[in-house]
Symmetry: C2
Subunit: 370 residues, 2 copies
C-alpha cells in the first residue's frame, strides 16, 4: 500500500476533526480507495464491511484487495432509505456473531448515508462499542453524514429516532465514486453543500453561485473544493459541539421541514437531500418572516437550489396540519416547543430562541395547499 | 414529597458513583420509593416508566403518585430474560414516539435487571440519548446491574451482545421490595453479592460467611449492609474504569462460564445469578489450577455459594465442547484469545494475562460429562 501523501499530494486533501482522544482524519481526493492504506486504522484480525447492492460490485473488491491478512466478512444491504431499520441493523449483528467478531473487530461502511448511519450505529452498539471507518460513496454522505458521529436508524414513526453519537476512526472520501453517482442523487447532495454556505460561510455561498456550471458537469477540481469546504465547515461545528447541546443544531437548517416531508412520504418519495432542499427554502422564508432576510436573499438561496434541479416547495399533497403534526415529533422539539434553525443573514445561521407561531403559520400558508 | 434524609437518616444510605459530570447518587434503604422525591431528577414534562407484569401491580402506583405534574406513560414488559430482545426494545421506542416524547423526557426503569438493561439501552438510543433513573426491585439488580451504566439486550447468538454504556442519573434502591422477591431470585442475587467479596473485599467475604443465616431470613439490617457494601465496591471499580478497558472486567468473575450456560439454555433455564454461581465455582477451580488458590480457598467459596441453594456445577447436559464454542463468542474474547477473571487470593481478582489452555481443559474435564 502506498501512502496517499507521497504519491498524490497535489490532489489529496486532509482534514482533522478535532475531538480530543476521539479526533480523526478525513482524506479527500481521487483514487483514495486505492491510495489510503486501511491497515493503519485496523487493530484486530477481523473486519466487517457493510455495503449495499449498488456499491458492492463497483468498489468492494478494491477494499478487500487492500486487506490481505484480515478475515473479511461482508453484509450487503438493499439500497434505500426505507431499509434503514432496526431489522436490517440486526442482520449486521447476526453476521458479526456468526463470524465470531470480538471487540477488536473493525466495521467499514462502504456506501451512502444509509449504509454509514447503520454501520455506525451497529459499531456503537455491538458489544457496547467497536471502531468503524467511513468510506462514503455519495455526495450527500461525503459532505454530511459520514462526518460527525451521528449514527442511527429510522422508526416507522420518525426518521433517525434511534441512534448514538459514535465517531468513526477515519473517513475516506474518494471523489472518483461520484462519477458513477446517478444525477438525482448527485443533486440531492448539493442541497447539503449549499447548506454550509447558508449557515456558516458566505464566501462559499458566493463561490457556489459562481461555479454552478462546473459543479453540474462534475468538474473534479470544483467537486474537490466543494467537498473539502463542506467538510471543513462541518468539522469546525462538530468540534465545537459534538453532541448537539447548542450550535451544532445549525447543521439542521431545513431538516425539520425536510424530515416531516420524508416521514409523510414514508421514506419512499423524495430523497433526503431533495426534502432538505425544500425545507431550506421554507426556512429561508421563515427567516424573512422573522425580519432577518430580504426577499432578495431568499430568492438567491432559492435560485441556487433550483439550479441543481432540486424542489423549492414541499409535495403538493402535504398540508400545513401534516407538517405541524410530524414536526412535533422532531428531535429538535423540547417540551412541545419547536426549535428551528433560521438565518440572521446569508452565511449566518442560528438556533431560534424567539420563534413565534405566527411566522410558522405564514410560511405554511404560503407553501401548503389549504 | 419529603426528603429521605430529613426523615429516615438512620436507615437511608447514600453513595456517589464518581464519574465527573456523569456522577450520580445511589439511595439505599427501606421505603425509598416513597421517600425519595423523583422530581428533583426530572427536567422535562414527560416520563416513561418501563416495568414488568410482576412489578407493576406492586409499586407502579407509588411512583406515579409522586409525579403529579408529569405526563406519565408506561410500558409493561413480560417478565424474564428471554424477553430482553431488540423487538421488545422497539416497543419502548414505539411508545415514546406515539406519545411524542422529546429529548427532555426521562425514562424510569422499575423492575429487575432485564427491565433496567433494556430501559437503559432505550434511553441511550432514543434520539441519541435521554436521561434515565434506575429503581431496581431485585437483589441482583440492586447490587449489580442498576449501577455502572452497562445497558443492552440479548441476541439469539449471545447474551448482552448489543448495548451501550449509558449511566443513569440516579439509582433508588428500596430494600422493602426484597420482601416480595421469590426465594429463587433472592438467592440468585446473592451470587453477585458473594462475587464482590471474592474479587475485591475479603473482610466482606468473611462477613458474609458469618451472616448467612441472617441473610437467608432477609434480616433488613443484614440486607442493607450487604447491598451497601456491594454498591460501594461496584461504584469504586466503575469509577476507576467506566468503559471496561481494564480493571472493571473483574466484575465478570464467573460470567464467561455463566453466559455460556445461559446461552446453552437459550435463556430459559437457570437464572442469571444461578449460572454465575456455577461459573464462579469453575473460576475458583481455574484459579487453583493457575496455582493461586488452595483447595481450602475453593471449598470456602463453594460452601458459601451452596449455603444460598445455588448451583456449584454447570448443567449436567452441557459438554466441554459446548462451553468452548459458546465462550469464544463472549465479549471478553480478544482476537480469539479468551480472557478470564481469576483470583490471586480470596478478595483479590484480576484479569488473566497468562491464561493457558491446560488450566481450562482441566477445569472443564472436572465439571463436564465427557
Amino acid at each position: 500500500m502506498i501512502n496517499s501523501e507521497s504519491l498524490d499530494s497535489k490532489t489529496s486533501k486532509h482534514i482533522i476533526v478535532d475531538l480530543g482522544d476521539r479526533s480523526y482524519p478525513i482524506s479527500i481526493g481521487p483514487k483514495q480507495i486505492s491510495l489510503v492504506d486501511l491497515n493503519q486504522y485496523i487493530q484486530g484480525g477481523k473486519v466487517l464491511i457493510v455495503t449495499n447492492e449498488t456499491i458492492a460490485p463497483l468498489y468492494l473488491s478494491s477494499i478487500t484487495a487492500g486487506l490481505p491478512n484480515k478475515q473479511i466478512d461482508v453484509v450487503t444491504l438493499p439500497d434505500g432509505e426505507r431499509f434503514k431499520t432496526l431489522d436490517n441493523l440486526n442482520s449486521i449483528f447476526t453476521k458479526l456473531l456468526e463470524k465470531n467478531h470480538d471487540r477488536k473487530t473493525t466495521l467499514i461502511a462502504l456506501g451512502g448515508g444509509v449504509v454509514g448511519d447503520m454501520t455506525g450505529f451497529a459499531a456503537a452498539s455491538y458489544q457496547r462499542g467497536v471502531p468503524f471507518i467511513q468510506i462514503p460513496t455519495t455526495l450527500l454522505a461525503q459532505v454530511d453524514s459520514s462526518v460527525g458521529g451521528k449514527t442511527g436508524v429510522n422508526h416507522p414513526l420518525g426518521k433517525n429516532m434511534l441512534g448514538a453519537f459514535h465517531q468513526p476512526i477515519a473517513v475516506i472520501i474518494d471523489t472518483d465514486t461520484l462519477t458513477t453517482l446517478p444525477e438525482r442523487q448527485f443533486f440531492a447532495g448539493m442541497a447539503e453543500v449549499i447548506k454550509y454556505g447558508l449557515i456558516a460561510d458566505y464566501p462559499f455561498f458566493e463561490w457556489l453561485e459562481a461555479n454552478v456550471e462546473a459543479l453540474i458537469r462534475r468538474d473534479p477540481l470544483a467537486l474537490s473544493v466543494a467537498i473539502e469546504r463542506s467538510c471543513i465547515n462541518k468539522a469546525k461545528i462538530v468540534s465545537a459541539d459534538e453532541t448537539e447541546q447548542g450550535i451544532r443544531a445549525i447543521l439542521n437548517l431545513g431538516h425539520t421541514f425536510g424530515h416531516a416531508i420524508e416521514t409523510f412520504q414514508e421514506y419512499q418519495g423524495w430523497l433526503h437531500g431533495e426534502a432538505v432542499a425544500a425545507g431550506i427554502v421554507m426556512a429561508l422564508d421563515l427567516s424573512m418572516n422573522a425580519g432577518n432576510l430580504s426577499q432578495i436573499d431568499v430568492d438567491r438561496g432559492k435560485k441556487l437550489i433550483s439550479m441543481f434541479s432540486l424542489p423549492v416547495a414541499p409535495p403538493e399533497d402535504m398540508s400545513a396540519e401534516a407538517f405541524i403534526k410530524l414536526m412535533l415529533r422532531d428531535k429538535k422539539v423540547f417540551d412541545g416547543q419547536l426549535r428551528l434553525i433560521l438565518l440572521r443573514s446569508l452565511g449566518d445561521g442560528y438556533v431560534s430562541q424567539d420563534f413565534t407561531q405566527a411566522w410558522m403559520d405564514a410560511t405554511l400558508a404560503k407553501f401548503c395547499q389549504s
